[in-house]
């Protein structure tokens, strides 16, 4: 396929290149700053150091924050898969009165800004003394994650031929065996893809965590925000160091994700999972 040639193509690729160059500059500016001794108004800082990483690590208690982030993300992934996949199965396999209503119920948390249900949810969590705890953060992050798993897994399950389950039954498999021996292996690629996307979303989810976290239950994005908001107190370089750590970990997650999820198949998936 020809990528370049016509003036239109030059225009498109030129615009893409412009975007990418600026994006690169933007990221580089943060990375350079995080390593700089001092940088003010010049083309390049007057010296490089890794001191700010050490100080950010200590001052912000980054280890604790990373542990909390990991706990929250893994719990959200596990719970949303456990709750979401059975729901997706029922939605994919059955037509029942009220199915549209149920579908809309699962669509709304994705279609509404997190702030709209985050504020009332935080209020409710405060009422039940859950706000400020890691549990509260997990619960809040589950609200968009469970529907996300449901909505991505439903088409994935739809494309698995129900006759494969029927065939397993005709071979004498009971419900449990049908699930463990036939369905589960076929679902693994879809669950993996959905899990990784939930993981990326949860680590990056700012609003819900911000509204429900207290000291000790902040994830990385929120402490990053807090450190930036209180920038006067802390050196710019330290904030940038945290930002670089955050982006680095997200990048690792994304690269892993792209190994499992073909980005062009987010909406339309492969008919047959490869053997």
């Amino acid at each position: 396929m020809r990528l370049v040639g016509s003036p239109g193509a030059w225009l498109v690729w030129g615009a893409v290149a412009f975007f990418l160059v600026n994006l690169f500059g933007l990221v580089l500016a943060v990375v350079v700053n995080s390593f700089s001794v001092q940088w003010f108004g010049t083309w390049w800082p007057n010296g490089l150091t890794t001191d700010y990483y050490a100080s950010a690590w200590q001052d912000l208690g980054l280890l604790d924050v990373l542990v909390v982030t990991g706990q929250v993300a893994l719990a959200v992934v596990a719970l949303s898969v456990l709750i979401g996949v059975p729901t997706a199965y029922a939605l994919a396999r059955r037509n029942f009165p009220g199915k549209r209503l149920v579908t809309v119920l699962f669509l709304l948390p994705i279609l509404l800004p997190p702030m709209t249900y985050g504020i009332p949810l935080a209020t409710v969590l405060y009422k039940f003394d859950l706000a400020g705890s890691v549990a509260g953060v997990i619960v809040a992050n589950l609200v968009p994650s469970v529907p996300f798993v449901v909505l991505t897994m439903t088409p994935f399950i739809e494309q698995i031929d129900p006759r494969i389950e029927a065939a397993a039954r005709m071979c004498g498999a009971r419900t449990l065996s049908v699930f463990t021996r036939v369905l589960a292996p076929l679902l693994v690629p879809g669950i993996l893809a959905a899990s990784i996307l939930v993981l990326v979303r949860t680590v990056g989810m700012f609003e819900l965590t911000f509204l429900t976290a207290g000291p000790g239950s902040q994830t990385l994005v929120v402490s990053l925000y807090e450190s930036m908001f209180s920038a006067g107190i802390r050196a710019q370089q330290a904030v940038d160091a945290v930002a670089v750590i955050y982006t680095g970990s997200m990048l690792v997650l994304l690269v892993i994700a792209l190994r499992f999820v073909n980005p062009t198949q987010l909406v339309t998936r492969l008919k047959e999972p490869a053997p």
């Binding site: 031929d161 006759r163 494969i164 029927a166 065939a167 397993a168 039954r169 005709m170 071979c171 004498g172 498999a173 009971r174 065996s177 021996r181 036939v182 292996p185 076929l186 047959e272 999972p273 490869a274 053997p275």
Partner: protein
């Protein structure tokens, strides 16, 4: 409760007014059928007539809306599919895409807790039977259509089920492979002493394979009988059409004498046979294209027609002519005709079936 499935045979399986509805739509209406052990029964009908519904009800994949299924007098329609001990071959084969051929075939044995050594022995034996030994370690996606089809059959018969259900197993294959697999299925049925219920929309396939045919239309049984009975004596106009009586000439009944009837088509009177005493005045005279011949002079049961289309079919020609009333007449003949010819056709009275228009 579980029914043993090993080396099973039963004397008879009775479907007693089996019914299945989807909401308001009745897909299968009061199906009455008795299948004897060792029999090959074909369910025949056009797409959407309820064949798969009937088969799935029998398999236990669809709950019945009414009626019951009895095996030697015991009700089995309350058993889940995995406990009925039937094998099934699906239209698109429904092979487990994540398992090799060998593991696909062994799956049912594993489910029944058959010991490993025994399992390997039986899988090898069945794979030899369907000639897939050298493909045993491939995955379904690496096989051709015919090979996938044989895996599906092997997976069903390795359990030596009481009853094998096949839902249009050949419809995804090309013509020559279809013939070959047809022989294969009949051979396996006979050599393993299986009881088979076979669903198809292809009358030729059903006639070739089955001991008994069940013709369905809109969920209602039209006729049950041996291939000879259904072929030579279709019960009604619909079955006749399905059995190759392509010519349906509108006619008016003029005389009834037992099985023999005379009908008027335009000016001409045709004599034919009516099996069920005809009561209606308007009728159709049905005849197969191959039963019509070219006559050299006017006589009894002859009609004149204008040849419109001639297709070359080797020794024969398939001819479409038009009768004076505008009705088309399809003829297969070894006489050489050309478009535009005005030809006299002879419709032998013993081959001309007359049905009431609404039969």
């Amino acid at each position: 409760m579980s029914v043993s499935t090993e080396g099973g045979a039963f004397a008879e399986l009775r479907l007693d007014r089996v019914r299945r509805a989807f909401g308001e739509h009745v897909a299968l209406r009061d199906l009455e059928l008795t299948i004897k052990g060792g029999e090959f029964v074909a369910l025949l009908g056009p797409s959407g007539c309820g064949k798969s519904t009937a088969l799935n009800c029998l398999a236990g994949l669809l709950p019945l809306s009414g009626g019951q299924i009895l095996m030697d007098g015991r009700r089995i329609d309350t058993l889940p599919p995995e406990k009925r001990g039937f094998g099934m071959v699906f239209q698109n084969y429904a092979l487990f895409p994540h398992m090799s051929v060998r593991r696909n075939v062994a799956f049912g044995l594993a489910m029944r807790g058959v010991a490993r050594a025994e399992r390997i022995r039986r899988v090898d034996e069945v794979l030899r039977l369907v000639q897939l030994t050298e493909h045993a370690d491939k995955f379904p996606a690496q096989l051709s259509g015919g090979q996938q089809q044989r895996v599906a059959i092997a997976r069903a018969i390795v359990l030596e089920p009481w009853l094998v259900l096949m839902d249009e197993p050949l419809s995804n294959l090309d013509a020559s492979l279809r013939l070959e697999m047809r022989n294969e299925i009949r051979r396996l049925h006979q050599s393993l002493g299986l009881t088979t219920v076979y669903v198809t929309h292809d009358q030729e396939e059903a006639l070739a394979l089955a001991d008994r045919l069940v013709v369905l239309r809109d969920g209602v049984v039209q006729q049950v009988g041996s291939p000879e009975q259904v072929y030579a004596h279709p019960a009604n106009r619909y079955v006749a059409g399905f059995m190759g009586y392509r010519n349906m000439i509108p006619a008016t009944v003029s005389e009834v004498d037992g099985d023999l009837v005379a009908v008027d088509v335009g000016e001409v009177t045709l004599r034919g046979i009516s099996r069920d005493r005809i009561t209606e005045n308007s009728a159709v005279a049905a005849i197969r294209p191959s039963d019509v011949s070219v006559a050299d002079r006017e006589g009894e049961n002859t009609l004149r027609g204008q040849v419109e289309i001639v297709e070359y079919h080797g020794r024969e020609q398939a001819v479409q002519a038009r009768l004076p009333g505008g009705v088309p007449l399809h003829v297969r003949t070894r006489s050489r005709l050309a478009p535009g010819d005005s030809v006299l056709f002879h419709l032998p009275p013993e081959r001309l079936l007359v049905f009431g228009e609404h039969s």
